[in-house]
Symmetry: C3
């Protein structure tokens, strides 16, 4: 017997996505749509993060308009108290045993992020979290932000897996002509896709001159520059970037001769045509200087807002011409392979669902 199976989704469901940052979860619950699911996040018992469907089983009010009391989520309309498993806990003057449950989503707080698993709860394994060693090391500092962007999350992956665009979109900060001219190399490592580019003996652009100064290095000499973009399922892109004094080994140079960081990109689908973009930078220079964190964060925010306008307009254009095929050039190899990884993960989930439905 065959039951109906959902149509091809636009993202893998059985994966950990970044849902929010801990500072977004204060006293009030947080409502956020992720992978087309309206969710409410809050700190339950012992301050542990919980995620539920944002829908009160009594009258359908959003639970995110409610409040947290004694580690339980209270609906702000008529006071139904929800437990973190999605079962009604209590309601003044009512017996709640027979109330319908709502979905609870596995959620974890780690590495300075709150992660959620939109798919089958039984498959949610904390061991599958994307490892972020720098997030637990004193030798690194991190700062970042969040944008809501009205385009398919995959357009952002395309953007980040081909940094050629820096020359054009970010001409005044991190772009430079030599990026265009350097060939890219793309390889697959397990489920990851890595695309890299190195530039020998170039002038450092403004951002990197700043970084060199903070690292105690001269900012007016030729450098070797690298960009190593790593895509991981479901939709994370970590980009190792840096400059080393010329001829000192580039990416492999001794730490005393280089300035480097990791551009951190968690790209969480909201709907098919919008996403939450958690961006940031983990750096190994001036790690104890909060002013540098603030300044890097501000600069990065400006740079990434330049992408935002381009991506949202690109989305509008693509929706106008749904049948037009785009080019897949050598510079697009990274994003083409990343999309293949995504498609393969979706197909595997769909096949599993079909088997389970038979």
């Amino acid at each position: 017997m065959t039951k109906s199976v959902p149509t091809q989704p636009a993202w893998p469901r059985n994966a950990w996505y970044v849902a929010c940052t801990p500072d977004e979860l204060g006293d009030k619950p947080l409502g956020r749509k992720i992978c087309d699911e309206s969710m409410v996040f809050y700190r339950g018992e012992d301050g542990k993060v919980a995620a539920l469907e944002d829908f009160c089983p009594h009258r359908g009010a959003p639970l995110s308009l409610g409040f947290v009391r004694d580690g339980a989520l209270v609906c702000g309309y008529h006071g139904l108290v929800m437990g973190c498993t999605g079962r009604a806990h209590s309601m003044p003057g009512q017996r709640v045993q027979g109330f319908p449950s709502i979905r609870a989503f596995p959620a974890i707080e780690r590495y300075g992020f709150v992660w959620v698993w939109p798919g089958d709860a039984e498959l949610a394994d904390p061991a599958k979290l994307h490892p972020l060693p720098w997030a637990e090391s004193d030798e690194w500092a991190y700062g970042g932000g969040l944008f809501h962007i009205a385009c398919d999350y995959r357009l952002m992956i395309d953007n980040l897996m081909d940094l050629t665009h820096e020359t054009y979109v970010h001409a005044s900060s991190i772009g430079q002509r030599e990026i265009d001219e350097a060939p890219v190399a793309t390889r697959v490592e397990g489920d990851d896709v890595v695309t890299s580019r190195t530039m020998q003996s170039v002038q450092a652009p403004p951002f990197w001159r700043m970084a060199l100064r903070h690292a105690g290095l001269p900012d007016d000499q030729p450098v070797d520059r690298w960009q190593i973009c790593r895509f991981s399922l479901p939709s994370h892109v970590m980009i190792e970037v840096g400059v080393a004094l010329e001829g000192r080994g580039g990416y492999e140079a001794d730490p005393s001769a280089k300035a480097s960081s990791i551009v951190v990109d968690f790209i969480t689908p909201e709907t098919e045509h919008s996403h939450w973009y958690f961006w940031g930078m983990a750096r190994q220079f001036a790690v104890n200087d909060p002013a540098v964190t603030a300044s890097v964060r501000e600069g990065q925010g400006k740079i990434f807002s330049e992408d935002l306008a381009m991506l949202e307009q690109q989305q509008v254009n693509l929706l106008r011409y749904p049948d037009r095929r785009l080019l897949k050039l050598n510079i697009d190899a990274g994003s083409v392979r990343a999309r293949m990884m995504i498609d393969r993960a979706i197909a595997a989930e769909t096949a599993t669902a079909r088997v389970a439905a038979e």
Copy 2:
């Protein structure tokens, strides 16, 4: 022979709805959509209120962009003059006898409101107006306002027929824990639904302490509090509310021992997912003090704007999950029965229309 009959509407059509307040009808006509009909309201001959379709039969311009001259509505585009029956009256250089008519809607100004009948004009009977004796009495004062709310008008009826929500939505003004704890009693009186709740020996919340002071009563003693919500077709909810000094008979107490008022709610559908909410309070304390009217009005406006956010988000959620059944608890009995009254009225109109069409 069977003609086509409109599909099940979302509201009774043959009923008087509040359309606007007289102060909204100045020199300019007023355009307002009511029960999915675009209407224009203006003062015709002798200042009498008239309501027409907001559509000029010449070129389709909205008549509400025009002006009133000598008691006739003049289209602001090319000067077609409409009579209050929906027939063209005149037009410079034109013979208008053959012009198509537009609909005229029965309209009445009474009790401080303008009422309109969106259904069959022949059935419009002023005697069917909802009686508002307090509106014509010197012993009462009234103040109110108007909100446009993006939700089904029935969600507002639900809201008003279950005041449990006061504890949560209006915690800082009229809510108090004892509301939750007091059982509700629901009864049907003819076409009306009445749901009531009494609280014995409670502390008066801030609003009622203010009212007690204005009534010349102590505000720091226990009181007996009551809430009697009365739904009348098509969509009116009058709520008798008050407090009496403890043990003096509550609702039945002598006027010298209590402070009371009527929360007035006229809920006029605009579209299936939006409505006009005319709210106000008729009170029997400090009736000659306009400062109290202003203060009560301001406080009530703040309280009702708390409902607005909740209701609009509830609507969004319900549209996301159209197939999900909501719970009907004992506290929901009033709204459940009110909706039954509405459904019955709609069904009766539909049956009549079907017979007429045969």
Copy 3:
């Protein structure tokens, strides 16, 4: 063999439309949708205007977010350089010979406007440009502006081919009761439709009193006034307007006894329910006084913004009642015939396309 033919379009495609004014084309390219085509305009080699589809063949980004370098349009995302014929010219590190082309639209800069031909490029003939002799004469001055209006471009043509509306929409500036009372005469001249109205011995309204003063004429005496509206395909309306001292021949009066001008209206469809309205006035009084140009422009802008509100609301109303037929009065004869010209032009294009497809 019959191929599929597009459904009936809402405008002639094989015609010159005003796309923008030269001052809108500075260093940055300009993105504008015209006749439902997303176009990008820029100055190519030698400053010559070019128009392309606003879609980069690489990844679909809008080319209008890019920049112009050495007379070529560079995509602002990854640097693809487009030639003005719609073929990719170059891209860093890429061979572009096999890249798909995008559409190039014939474009001409003349008479102070940039014109574009949205239809078949082979048919684009500069000789078919609407002649504007005043635009190349020292005896005339011109000033104008641009509005984006959310209504079918044909509603604007209706508006301009029946100036009865001036009495109502523009009561305080150019309207006067006598417009209503004067009969209109409508005639067809080739593909043009001309509708005219004269008023004998009237008081000049404010705008024309100003014009009389600038022409060195008394502004307090009766005048003969004329309005001659001329529609030309695809959607241009030129209106000769003026006043002459009473009894001096009206429109035919000696220039020393009159003040006159041409209201210039280029009405360019954007979508089926929106258009670009290029409005202005070419005048023969005070031609060397830029302050008069500024003042006339400001006044005209105010007057035309009164039409804007009416037209957008009329469009909303018409979409609500798609089946309701509008009246075609004698005052509507000009617009009725103009629409017949448009329909005929569309039908001729459709027939040609059908023959070509067979």
